[in-house]
Amino acid sequence: MIKNISNLGDAAVYCDFGLEVNETVNSNVIDYFNHLRHLVNQKKIQGINNLTPSYNKLIISFDLSVTNFSKLKKIIENLNIKKSIKKNNQKIKIPVCCDNKYGLDFDRLSSKLNLSKEEILNFFFDKEYFCYMTGFIAGMPFFGDLNEKIRFDRLETPRIKVPEGSVGITEQFTNIYTFESPGGWNIIGNTPKAVFQKLNLQDPALIKPGDKVSFYQISKEEHLKFND
């Protein structure tokens, strides 16, 4: 449930679901998101511009010339959220090549975590992940939770350019860089699969909050030929 609703500036509502990060809290955020999105699409609420669900927050930005914080707060407080009206439960498989050409941070991770590259990869591939949110850059999914043995901090100095397709890990999370972008996550591999397809206008983001994803390892050759 929402623990607190406050204003973020004068044109956004900040719905706080607490500090915990787990599937239960996040599913609750996504339920609110889906419910509100439905109302916006049906034009039953005026003035909402964007809804941004994340691990444990939902931010609703709006057009201040149409509505305001107190009006929207009242609407949100009186919503009757049905659990999972339309639950995203796609299962998606993502190929990843972990050759050292793509896995840029194995040396750092091996020494810090005291694990060999093989051990890190065994822990990484041996799990199905839950998509908490997408964003930062177009279509970038954030998954959790990593095995506790392979959790580690971000790079002290972020990279100016992380290559497109890179698979990163940090803390309990893993992500995919859908575009070349600055970034501070530990890079363990690269996927040739297009996770964001701008030409697919109806549905450009392959992975959405609430989806389940599993990764499987491919060779350098398979990576090269994947899109042939």
């Binding site: 900040y14 964007n50 994340s54 964001f196 701008k198």
Partner: protein
């Protein structure tokens, strides 16, 4: 014979198409985009009798040199801009912002530079011939979305113009001048209490310098270091235009129209809606101060901002 178009003889530093912005896609990481200075965007459209939501050309610092081909247009430029019109008889006419001009086939617009601001806007009667992506014509260069394959314009490219009647065009002029006020009004952010008392006092009392690290995504400031006493990272969450984040190095970043949709730096404050145009136009080297206002005051100030915008828009109607 090809349609009426601009041929780009010089691209300028960051010449793109922008409009009111692209909404309803933050949840998949697609940001707002849109004109950084929404008031000047609307005024530009108003001067050539377009719908206020028509897409136009936004440029930054040095603008483009454009040659008109196969037609005659009515155009206007808004902002604080130094530009010339190169007529067919080679005569150079110094251009004035906030008024409309007729440009004949073969004539050129040379947008030399902005003066005390960063962005300017070029509108043409009838608008440009472009394809819409997700409800907007804005170019988002990061995700490569929008017209021109989502890229800023380069030399020798063409920008096509829709057919419009330019008979009986009336001269229009808006008596507008940007204020260039250096006080940025903000509402405290959700992580305001992450900062020491000393940092909170400094934030509202000392000058901040706009650095060279400015683009359509955001603006890095330099000033008194702000000590975070709780955590320099938060769990990533949604962002909006105008958010002021404080990363671990203690220097503020103000997010602008192409900002990342989520992020994990604490939010010390949010620029009020009435001051967003002003913030976007701040040039590197400018010193600014932050001033706290309440939500109720911010809402009133936005109403004033809209009324003032409408007053200029109605000047010639």
């Amino acid at each position: 014979m090809t349609d009426t178009h601009f041929e780009i003889l010089r691209s300028g530093i960051n010449t793109t198409i922008q409009d009111a912005g692209r909404n309803h896609l933050y949840h998949i990481g697609i940001t707002l985009s849109g004109a950084i200075d929404q008031r000047n965007y609307k005024l530009a459209n108003n001067l050539v009798d377009n719908q206020l939501t028509e897409a136009l050309i936004e440029f930054a610092y040095q603008g483009p040199l454009l040659k008109l081909k196969n037609g005659k247009i009515n155009f206007a430029i808004t902002g604080d801009i130094f530009f010339n019109i190169i007529r067919n008889n080679s005569k150079i006419e110094e251009g004035k912002c906030y008024q409309n001009y007729i440009l004949n086939d073969g004539e050129q617009i040379d947008i030399i530079s902005t003066k005390k601001s960063v962005y300017g806007y070029l509108s043409v009667s009838g608008g440009f011939k472009l394809e819409e992506t997700w409800g907007s014509y804005s170019i988002n260069t990061k995700a490569q979305i929008g017209p021109n394959d989502g890229k800023k314009y380069s030399i020798n490219e063409k920008i096509f113009i829709k057919k419009s009647h330019i008979k009986n065009i009336k001269d229009k002029k808006i008596n507008y001048k940007d204020s260039f006020d250096k006080i940025i009004r903000v509402i405290k952010g959700t992580n305001f209490d992450y900062f020491s008392n000393e940092a909170k006092i400094k934030f509202f009392n000392e000058d901040y310098l706009v650095t060279r690290l400015v683009d359509r995504m955001g603006m890095r400031l330099k000033g008194p270091n702000l000590k975070n006493i709780v955590n320099t990272n938060i769990k990533s969450e949604g962002l909006i235009k105008g958010t002021i984040q404080i990363p671990a190095d203690g220097n503020p970043i103000i997010l602008l129209s192409d900002h990342g949709t989520i992020g994990g730096y604490p939010k010390i404050a949010i620029v009020i809606s009435a001051d967003l145009d002003k913030v976007g136009q701040l040039t590197p080297g400018t010193k600014i101060k932050f001033q706290e206002v309440s939500l109720a005051d911010a809402e009133k100030l936005f109403k004033n901002y809209l009324e003032k915008t409408n007053k200029y828009l109605n000047e010639y109607n």
